[in-house]
Symmetry: D2
Subunit: 331 residues, 4 copies
């Protein structure tokens, strides 16, 4: 095959997002897995730790010098934990796709207030590109550091950004529901099977950290309420707003992503199962006179995390967006 073989590192491959990047890269036609790290599993073979991932690679750690020989490194660590490493990699001319919140905010103070930490590398904030693929493809292509968007944020921005840019909407409420993998790999009774199964709850009302990220990108305040669904994967966001011109708004939604392989308006209201295990986002809308409702669905670990990260890699390296990414959802 004559396509470029991108050398890939993954830091934090034990977490769900990192493990999904690993899975995608392992079967990517133009990428090659060079290094995977996990503090918890250092020195063990991936296939011995995760029978689901039959890779013979051995987990390394964050200090592995091979990371600096990669073409691109995915960093999938909790906020601030990967920040120093991200800086070193950038300094070593390795391109980085960071799945944490560290570099998502234009406004560093807003980041610090939202996450209640000092920003580890404010100097890098200015070179980071926000990796909402369909919104910023050119910038992403040239980026040294891509900040992969939050999962809830992606489900809301994709339909709402075009409406906000067109100046058609106000007073936005996003009522979002996420599968439990969004909480990450957990040893916690709150995420135990017997607690989550046959249950449903709201959480983080008025306080969830994805609200400021949405607001900054939309340029508008937003009221955001997340809920925990008893399913493994998927987000559905029901977004309510006041609309000045429903016809125009519908037209904006129908046409905004005409040439995009992964993002589509559908006449029918979309369901999570239509996008689970794919990198797609589907949305639809309904309008009364002054009110609009958008329903949007993604797979939180793919378009909401690992899939969008790989799509960002594809864009950075001049590949088709769809390379190595699933479009069709299983039964």
């Amino acid at each position: 095959m004559t396509s470029p073989n991108i050398k890939v590192g993954i830091v934090g491959a034990n977490g769900y997002a990192g493990a999904e990047v690993l899975r995608l890269i392992a079967s990517h036609p133009s990428a090659e897995l060079s290094v995977v790290t996990s503090r918890a599993h250092f020195g063990k073979r991936v296939c011995d730790v995760f029978p689901a991932l039959p890779s013979p690679l051995v987990f390394s750690d964050m200090n592995d010098p091979s990371l600096k020989k990669c073409d691109v490194v995915f960093v999938a660590l909790p906020q601030t934990a990967g920040a120093a490493l991200v800086g070193e990699l950038i300094d070593a001319n390795v391109r980085v796709i960071d799945l944490s919140a560290d570099y998502r905010f234009d406004d560093v103070e807003l980041y610090e207030k939202t996450y209640n930490v000092a920003h580890p590398r404010p100097d890098l904030a200015s070179i980071a590109v926000y990796g909402l693929c369909e919104a910023d493809r050119d910038k992403i292509h040239n980026a040294r550091l891509v900040a992969n968007p939050g999962c809830y944020v992606t489900s809301v921005l994709l339909p709402m950004l075009p409406l906000c840019k067109a100046g058609l909407v106000s007073d936005i409420i996003a009522d979002s529901k996420s599968g439990t993998s969004g909480a990450g790999r957990k040893s916690d009774e709150a995420y135990s099977f017997c607690t989550v199964d046959e249950n449903f709850k709201a959480y983080g009302v008025f306080t969830h950290r994805h609200a400021p990220e949405m607001s900054e990108k939309l340029g508008k305040p937003i009221l955001f309420t997340p809920h925990l669904l008893p399913i493994k994967r998927g987000i559905l966001s029901t977004v309510y707003f006041d609309v000045t011109d429903a016809d125009k708004a519908l037209n904006v939604l129908r046409t905004a992503y005409n040439n995009e392989p992964f993002v589509s308006y559908t006449d029918a209201l979309p369901e999570i199962s239509s996008v689970a295990y794919t990198n797609r986002c589907l949305f639809s809308a309904r309008f009364s006179e002054k009110r609009g409702i958008v329903v949007s669905v993604i797979d939180n670990l793919l378009k909401g995390a690992a899939g969008q990260a790989v799509q960002n890699m594809n864009i950075m390296f001049g590949l088709n967006d769809t390379a190595g990414l699933p479009l069709y959802a299983p039964v």
Copy 2:
């Protein structure tokens, strides 16, 4: 035992709501199951059709004259299907608790428009009492015909009625999520396990029939969006509204049901599993300056249907509200 033994009939015991009434009455300390009907299972023993319900009673049909010898008959049929029978029973001085929508509306025209049918017995609409137990206990006590409220409606009215009566809120949006038993016993691919499991969707946006019922009872318009949860039982409603005085509103919510065994304000946001398989409604609230959010949970088949129906029976016959009704949720 010296307590009154109420002779009970159940029409439509094959449906989920009817089957739950059957289950509750079978172990009710002051009621006695006299007649159960099911067109589908006429002539069969309940225990042979439903191994889960070990009753030796034989399913009868709607024409069974024993129905007129009951003290009270629960009618759990689709709208209009039980209306003629309800009339006959009322004429025969049998008290009726109707679980359909037929007698829920004060405004008969609104009913006809909402359900797209001619009202079968508009003459009875005026004697029917809306059976939201905690709101209308006195009227229910004396009622000959009780119209049991809709499941979504109950989850919204219990917290929102006191706020509306106090004139504190406007611009209400109810984003509700229901377990699949709310759709009833179904042979339909849309409700098959492989369709619903690991899935989630919105439906009936701007068009669900429970919205007019909510509006009429609240005396205000409401934007209502239902969603289908991949669980068997339970409703969680997230209700957004503008509030004129948050402190007053919180106080109203905290005190409205102080003496009620089944309805409670909780400081923590309630989860469906805390009320599943019980007749309770729990709710909590959060406020910003001008916005309020209420989260409310019920079991759709108990407080949202069969449980509230039995509670209505208890009130009609002067028993404690809690007689024969579960307060404690299982693990």
Copy 3:
């Protein structure tokens, strides 16, 4: 009410089995909750810890002297943890129903080998009565100490004991499947929602501790393989065996529990949902020439734990077996 009011204590009410005893006793017509203990929640009100259990009682601890004023105490602690307390209570003439494995074995050495511990109170082993309600009602009635059987064990013994006593079967294999609540309240990734949901596995092959308990009670070796079901509650055991006379065996199964309210042979193969949230055991059988297969279902937390424990209390105190115990399964 003139029925006896049994004063009840529950030790270990935080665990799933203890919480279910609490739930059952709270609505039991002839029992009164006096003391509930939980090390984890000492000093807190039950309703504040568990919104699902609206009891105003305050959690006490194991040293609470009120325990010795109870008529009966349910001890729901891990093996050996409650043994000293059980001894003290027995010495104080309080009757005890122990839900652990401590007193289940006739053969103390077998217990010690199986659980790899020294028996805490071998002197009490001889007075303990094995509480398989339908098998030992008279002994249980007079018992000071009842050892509540294991959940898997109950599902297998109820159908297989009569067959073994009749000398009709040999070469028994029990392939059992349990809901996840059988593992108890857990903060462990192995029991997290994302691990268990949409998954299924065998575990403890050739090594599970319920096998020796089954063998001792059946008087025969048994090959037992447990599996973990992605459901909250219920056990289904598929039991394979060689049979000498299939007709006789079927007759034994059909008649063994003719007068029992909770245990029944059914012609159709039983499903877990027919017994979930009830205290029943249903089983059926199929035979070829020399082989038999029994399928048996229970709710692991009720007939397999808390429900059988309360049934034992009912027997001990001369009440109907069914007092306070659910017979009808919800939808």
Copy 4:
């Protein structure tokens, strides 16, 4: 791309197995989707019927002459429904992979007895090759007609065939558990969400049609009991047997598939989630003196149906077995 572009037809793409073949072929690097048929959806675009499958192809029907221009046609219809078409395609020199039971049996009478039908084309039975990929790769490579094995059968044969061929085992019992997609796309209350969720049952005891298929291929009788799991995808089979030499048996299992990409012995007991959404089969074994237990897992719709079918296509056309087939399981 220089790799061969195989022109593919799919008959019965509405069913779950057919839809999964469609999904796999749509992203297969060396295949091209030419025709898809569905009686139910004739004339509609795939993407309009199934938002999860964004293919612009229009559903055709079984009479579409383009089927005869395909290099290979997957026929995913109920038994006998596709038999005439299979004959026509073979006569037209189109290679066929049949996912029904029609051509699985060497013994046509056994087929007719098992399925209670007259064999539609007994003349073709002799040219059909049984498509258990790892067992018959050479024959499959040259086959004109491949009979894709049953899902349960695959889970049992892969570990048990080597043991049977080595003459090491007897008295086999397979206790198998399958996800609900195994029952196909259904509008049937028995497969509704509220019936299947939180439930588990055995069915087809002594009568399931996969038992004769297993027996014929193993050359031995087998006692087979299937069960219905409340999950979408996956089969776990727990297989019990008498063993003459446990060490030899273990060695056979460890080495039988050394060079196979999809089939592996694992030391740990395998779980369904390790193979869901992949084409793999994992198994492990435990032995006592005379008894052995194998636990085996597959995805019923992939290695148990569509995945094995595509693997058969890969073998027929000289591609790598793994082309277009997933090896890594998602979180």
